[in-house]
């Protein structure tokens, strides 16, 4: 039963991810896509947590934080890129 619930949760997360992918593909604007990507990352975090429970292992708990980190860094990079046209600035004052 518990495993069935976990499967349902996973499938729901997948649907959620697919919806986000739809937004990624559809856009229409860059920020739309980035927001959707961010959400994919967040859902992945959830998915990995569920999978860890499903597999009864701690081995993937690192993955959770890691996805969080990468998703954050990625979103910031995108935001910078959209805002300034560059990702890393040489000097903020000019």
């Amino acid at each position: 039963m518990f495993e069935k619930v976990l499967m349902i949760v996973l499938i729901a997360l997948t649907i959620s991810i697919i919806a986000a992918i739809y937004r990624v593909v559809k856009g229409p604007s860059m920020p739309d896509r980035v927001i959707a990507l961010d959400m994919i990352g967040i859902n992945l975090v959830a998915a990995v947590a569920v999978i860890s429970v499903l597999l009864k292992t701690y081995a993937f708990l690192e993955v959770i934080l890691l996805i969080g980190i990468l998703s954050f860094v990625g979103t910031i990079a995108f935001a910078r890129f959209i805002e300034r046209g560059v990702v890393i600035e040489r000097n903020r004052d000019n």
């Binding site: 597999l55 292992t57 081995a59």
Partner: protein, 112 residues
């Protein structure tokens, strides 16, 4: 599962190859990325899939997944990453200097 994976790998190779055969620098590199994934999955599949827990001693008492292919894939992933980054930069420098991303316009001087 192995059969499914073999089919999946075939699909990845097909799509990757198709992309590699197109004209645009970006599509080509994306194609190589897809083939790369196919290759990594192939190594994993050839090692045998999911016959046990994670290759950590003490975590699970079940039998272990073949750990050697995993190590090989890790090395392959890193090398592939290194090559891809260089390749990417090469592509964009090529575009910058030659002013086109159309490979048909990047013909060599094979004909004099």
């Amino acid at each position: 599962m192995e059969t499914l994976m073999a089919l999946l790998i075939g699909v990845l190779f097909t799509i990757g190859t198709y992309l590699v055969l197109t004209k645009s620098l970006l599509r080509i590199i994306l194609g190589t990325a897809i083939i790369g994934h196919g290759v990594h999955l192939l190594i994993l599949t050839m090692g045998g899939l999911k016959s046990g827990g994670p290759p950590l001693l003490g975590v699970d008492t079940l039998s272990f997944t073949d750990s050697l292919p995993q190590a090989l894939i890790l090395t392959a992933i890193v090398i592939n990453f290194a090559v891809t980054s260089l390749f990417l930069v090469l592509a964009f420098r090529t575009y910058q200097v030659l002013g086109t991303d159309d490979l048909n316009k990047l013909r060599g001087s094979e004909d004099e």
